[in-house]
């Protein structure tokens, strides 16, 4: 479990709004091991989403380099990055972003078809995953704007998982979910992680963060501290306490 899958060095991202420059990520270093369940926490506006976009090759960093299994993906062209993402990554957007022109099922299958041609298998897996996150058949042919916020979020999660990617990026995937649904989703994530897929997740919720084996705390574009938690054990009060103390230290 010690081999690094994703590594960022001296990562910087600067947004310029007219004459105002905003340094959102500052010389940030990060190292993700295969099979890690990493949670990134930090206050609103600290740069968490920006970091996920950069790590997944969705946005070019202003400076710094990102390696995936020793390949420097930050040098890739846009299209090569697209192919990289489809092969190796799954992404859950904070804003969900389903394709409003197609049904729930098609939204998931379309991602699957980028990797495999076996429609039957993809559809079967999509339905299986939807079932696991608590979505019924009624939803299959609905269009995104006919879904509730929580339903849309779960569809987005299934879409990210459909290709069993090596790394799943999830930006507040439980933000719109009630606790039962959140637990269902997190169970699926934990299961996926147990089978060897790495997860990098942003969350504001301690219960959600408990699932991780490491917590990174981001402040003003810098990772100011890291907590190693060890593999997830259900209903472990000590785990909860350590985490809470860590966050209090961080001024959360």
């Amino acid at each position: 479990m010690e081999n690094t899958i994703l590594k960022a060095e001296m990562l910087s991202k600067t947004y310029s709004n007219g004459s105002i420059m905003q340094h959102v990520l500052k010389n940030l270093n990060i190292d993700i091991k295969a099979g890690d369940f990493t949670v990134i926490m930090g206050s609103s506006g600290s740069g968490k989403s920006t970091l996920l976009y950069a790590l997944s090759g969705m946005d070019k960093p202003t400076l710094g380099k990102i390696d995936f299994k020793g390949e420097e993906i930050s040098k890739y062209s846009n299209d090569r990055l697209a192919v990289f993402r489809r092969k190796h990554c799954g992404f859950v957007f904070q804003q969900i972003y389903l394709n409003e022109t197609m049904s729930v099922l098609d939204n998931i299958i379309i991602s699957g078809l980028l990797v495999s041609r076996d429609k039957k298998a993809i559809a079967a897996r999509a339905k299986e995953l939807l079932h696991q996150v608590g979505m019924t058949e009624v939803c299959y042919q609905k269009y995104p704007s006919q879904l509730s916020g929580g339903e849309a979020q779960r569809v987005a999660i299934v879409r990210a998982l459909i290709n069993a990617p090596e790394i799943v990026f999830a930006d507040e995937p439980t933000g719109a979910l009630n606790s039962t649904n959140a637990i269902n989703v997190l169970d699926v994530m934990t299961e996926v992680n147990a089978s060897g897929q790495s997860i990098i997740m942003v969350t504001h919720d301690i219960k959600t963060a408990r699932r991780a084996n490491r917590i990174l705390y981001l402040k003003d574009g810098v990772i100011i501290d890291e907590l190693k938690l060890g593999s997830y054990v259900k209903d472990d009060p000590k785990r909860h306490k350590i985490l809470r103390e860590f966050l209090e230290r961080m001024g959360w």
Binding site: S56, N78, V83, F91, Q95, Y97, S103, I109, L114
Partner: protein, 789 residues
Amino acid sequence: MKILMIATNNIRKAKVATATLIILIAIATIFLYVGISVLSNLDTFIDGKNAETNGAHFISITDGSHDAAIDQIYESIDSYVSSEREEGLMSMSSKYQNVDTGEEAYSLSTLFLNRETPRDISRVTIIDEAAQIPENGVIVPYVLKIANGYKTGDTLKFMVDDNTTELEIAGFYEDLMFASPSNVSMYKLYVGDRQFDELMNQPVYGSKCSYSAVITDDIDNTEAFESQFTKDLKTVWPERTGSYATLSYGTMKIGVAVFINIIMAVLVAFSIIILAIAAIVIKFSTTTHIENNIKNIGALEAMGYTSGQILGSILVEYLMITAVGFAMGLGASVLISPVITNVVSSSIGLRWTTGIYPRTVLISLAVIMISVLGISYFSAFKIKKITPLAALRNGIETHHFGKNRAPLERTKLSLNMAMGYKSLVFNKRQNLIAGLIIMMLSLVTVFSFAAYYNFAVDKSAMIKLIGLETAEVQVTATENEETIFDEIAAMPGVEDTVKLDSFDGVIKYDKKESGASTRITEDYSRLKVDTCVKGRMPVNDNEIALTSIVLNKLGAQMGDTVSIDYNGTTREFLVVGVTQQFNMLGRGAAITTAGMKKLMPVYQEKNLMIYLVDGENTKSFVTRINNQYANQNIQTASYFESIEMMLDSFEASIKIVVTGCLGIIAVIIVFVMFLVIRVRILRERTRLGVSKALGFTSNQLIGQILISQMPVIIGASALGAVAGYFATNPLMALMLAANGILNCEFYVDPGLVLLTILGISMLGLATVLIVANSIRKISPCRMFEEGVD
């Protein structure tokens, strides 16, 4: 003002749409303003021009044998004020060639007057006068300068048969009565004393005539003077031999304005088409604006803005756009006024001056404001019906989800096809509007091409509208007609001959009457130009066909019985058909030879139309006939050439106008296509960005965009072009309806229809590729960001 803020913000965000609308409104303004200003001021202008030179209200040209009787008739008519009489030379079969412009010789009758004769009616004010008028100097109509490019100092060759005299152009004059050969196919030329005498002394050049000009006290009723005069003259001089012609100011004024009225009607029609395009563009941009901003609108409403305020902001937005577009259009109208001056001047043969007409400005402004604001109000009105909640939830109520047509689970479509297809189907309503715009554009393209082709390239459809035969040669004989005509028909080089006469008839119906140039021939099916638009041409001796202008004037219809008065004999005729013609101001009638014999039992055909076989030279044929019948009393004319001459002055103007319209249509097409396609693709930015994030490559996405855009573009351009193919003639007829035209047969080249479809599709494809290509360089995150038009 909050509303103003929202409005300016909308304008800033939708730059391309704003620019396109401004351009459309500016162009519509130009066309509308120019069209209306010419149409509404022409009449006053011509009257003013005529007053400057104390222009004649009535003119008669006779052989001089009844001068005293004619003067007596003048004086007996109530409205008569004064008259002048002078001697002239009338040359019926003259030909001209301007050596300096290198043009070909053409036939046109001439009336020579002596420049040095003092006159108070229709005074000659010389334009571009030569510093020193040479002995063979000639003052020619202004139309030759403006339409044909003649200049002072040019040598004008005057020819009758084999006799030639060279004249030097020493200046130009304006006179409504002889303003343009399209009106009276005769030049009135002023030469100096010596030249005049020289011409008079050579009988080959023509015959002496007596020219008299009359001023009345009622310039608006000169036709009444003319018909009273004609009636009275018949009693004192029934046979009316020799050269005889009368012209009335009213008739000539209408005649001179016919072509420019057509051109201006074309302009106004174009402006209406452009306004229609602007209307759909407004509909398109408000709809997309509302769809794109539905959440903002919802948020504003949730904050407490009323939908009325939001609607108001949209109206303010279009009000500002219209104001800018209108101002620009008005400015451009002033800039292009030299072109308009040229077009109008060359078609009326008088020096037109363009001014600023406040009334016209207000009318155009009202038309444009009302149409733009009306359409934006109606297309934005649905905001009133959207609740904030529905708006915030992406306007669910405004969208009807159909059946999932190609579920990916089962579809056989490829991945890109399926995605493109889904977005195509999803955007039904927007596709419909975009398709409608593209349809309009392609319809207008076909229409403009057809207008150009038929006005400027192949004029046969125009000639058909004019209603004259296309015979190359016309022979008039007054003795031995039958033998001569039979011999000519058998001559080599002759394809066909038809005996066709005409006389100025007076048609009566139920106390109303109308003058009509009445054609006489035995069998109308033998004519090459069919002017019949309803019913049929007369076959029996009691049948008649009339133009719709005559029918309207009489208040008669097909199936009614009208009567013709001919030298005291009155006969009744049944109206069996409706015809159309520009010629003779649209006043025409047609009866059979047998019908004419009922009016005049001794009637004998005098006029023969000769159609030559292809490749036969008209000039040499005319010479051959003249030689063969040198000692018979006949007149030969190159008939078709003079029609073409008549069209020439019209052609220059219409060419400018249709070329201008084609250019403008091209600009509009490029702008509107770009706008529509850009808006459609930008709207999908977020979706495209997410697709890219999921791992679609740029090529895949461009492929999907092509699949979702091109069917609409290709389908709409094809539909529009085909519609244009069928709608061109009805549209044209509609535009010319005021001139009595019910039916047009303009040639619409199927090749051009195909070319239009291809051209617009290619333009669409290029635009799609250019706009779509911009997603290549952008990372997915950038595409999520808002900032959509």
